[in-house]
Symmetry: C4
Subunit: 173 residues, 4 copies
């Protein structure tokens, strides 16, 4: 969560189910810890890349789900998951019609976070309209101007991933 | 929900999870706001069309689900989802046997609500026995003489959409 | 639920989610109401058939689920759902090994309850070891010496229906 | 759960949903009851085999799930379920990259617990890096240095079984 120039982030190695506000770390825009106990997660650099590339974003959500993992693998060679023709696309900020074409870019997963951060930055620039980014066989990043908007984007994208995943596995001939 | 000649409806842009009765808008049968803060949703005109075409209906439910989205796309070119041979069809008002043939018409989704309202009205007239209507890749409308009956219709139809969706994707040869 | 020679049963037309013990009807072994308000469900005769054919049974459960509906349709022409080789078969009373072959007979669904009762009685006699019976595209009946045993049978059978349903839809060649 | 040289285990025949700490049995490393009412489950010997083969383990979890049952049957002839390329593999203790290859061995299910214990011991020795073991069409055993770690392993493996199960059933060509 971004507040002014500082960012609040969950620390590494804690069970998300038992987190309290006191566990949040405060970091600067370069990802350095300013306040709070614990160490920022290795994925912190990806958050700072997104906040840099999407100045309106004030909240980022990252989720590993069955369907985003499946689609991020299935479409890895295509480079993006195409979503089109669904009313629920209107759950994405600025989208006013189901005719909208959303492309969620897929960045190849890596444990080299410098490489990952630079490829994520490139994907965000090339896909300036995208409301989320997938890491292949890893998970989804999405964001919003508020936590509520980021959640709405998360719910819309996960719903659409499941619909597309089921549709495609039902017609594989 | 219809009470006398007036209709209570949820306003646009509010998170349904945090709605309270005080948030409900009161509108007249033509969809004009009479009381309550907020603006009626763009889909209000579809509700008034249904109340007009189904005089017995006193409650309307509208749901986006994985399976109704899938079937409304899969059967879009057929024009309706056929449901037949299931005991749960008896969950639909007036249906006394599993031999019943239910056809849930599919109206092509649109952001032109005038066009949508007129096609919905036509679908309701042509399918006078239908207990619900689908908008393609969008969602289901169903209704009842009470909220309880509308919910029973919703549960029966969603159950049958899932059974049919799974049955069809399991035999795609 | 059987207590002595009398049977307690849920009345027709009530939402199961709001039932209280006071809503239960007391009926005799022929299905006639003895005490309680409301009318016994049309399926009462099926319960009395099961209590007659399975003297040890003191509780009967009847459930419509996605997977029992699917399998009862898919295997309708075979006449039974075969279940074999799963550890969870040991959840069925008297079954000591996963090598056990369980056959859940399928009775063709009907609104003629006399016909249905007589075919159910025949299925129970022919399949004296069966722990449940399916009505095609309708649902499952299972039972036990106690409510807890009937629930254990229900959970084991529903688990196995889902496993078999998913296994079969994943290998349609 | 292992505390010192003694082991706490759930007794046979109790509904896990109603267990309290007082129901736990204390057994010695050979599986003999030391304290507590009730009889150790027939699967106790499998727990002692795991504690013997994995000295760091202080908690063991055993779960029957839809997806572990399906994959343990589907890969029975291969002898193991291969898991590779998923970020969630990092949920397994000591795994630092999604490139990791996890092999979850499958032991053929049996009601002969002596045979099962000896085959389980062999599988644990041959697959010294494995974080879990499947019994075919039966369920998963996994473990950890603490209950929290065992739960993390369980959640990671079950997630990956579901992803792999859905991926494979969606591409059966």
């Amino acid at each position: 969560m971004r507040a002014g120039v500082h960012i609040l982030i969950t620390p590494t190695g804690l069970d998300k189910g038992t987190l309290t506000p006191a566990d949040l770390l405060e970091i600067d825009p370069e990802g350095r810890a300013i306040a709070g106990r614990g160490r920022p997660s290795a994925e912190t650099s990806l958050h700072t890349v997104i906040y840099h590339a999407r100045p309106q974003a004030h909240a980022i959500l990252h989720v590993h789900s069955i369907w985003n993992t499946l689609l991020s693998g299935q479409f890895a060679s295509t480079g993006f998951v195409p979503l089109e023709g669904y009313e629920l696309l209107k759950g994405l900020s600025g989208v006013a019609t189901h005719v909208h074409r959303e492309r969620i870019p897929i960045v190849e997963n890596s444990q080299d976070y410098k490489k990952l951060a630079s490829e994520l930055a490139a994907a965000l620039t090339e896909n300036s309209g995208a409301h989320g980014v997938l890491l292949s066989r890893h998970g989804l990043y999405t964001w919003g101007e508020s936590v509520a908007e980021a959640r709405r984007h998360l719910e819309a994208l996960e719903f659409l991933f499941e619909v597309e995943g089921r549709r495609l596995s039902g017609q594989q001939t």
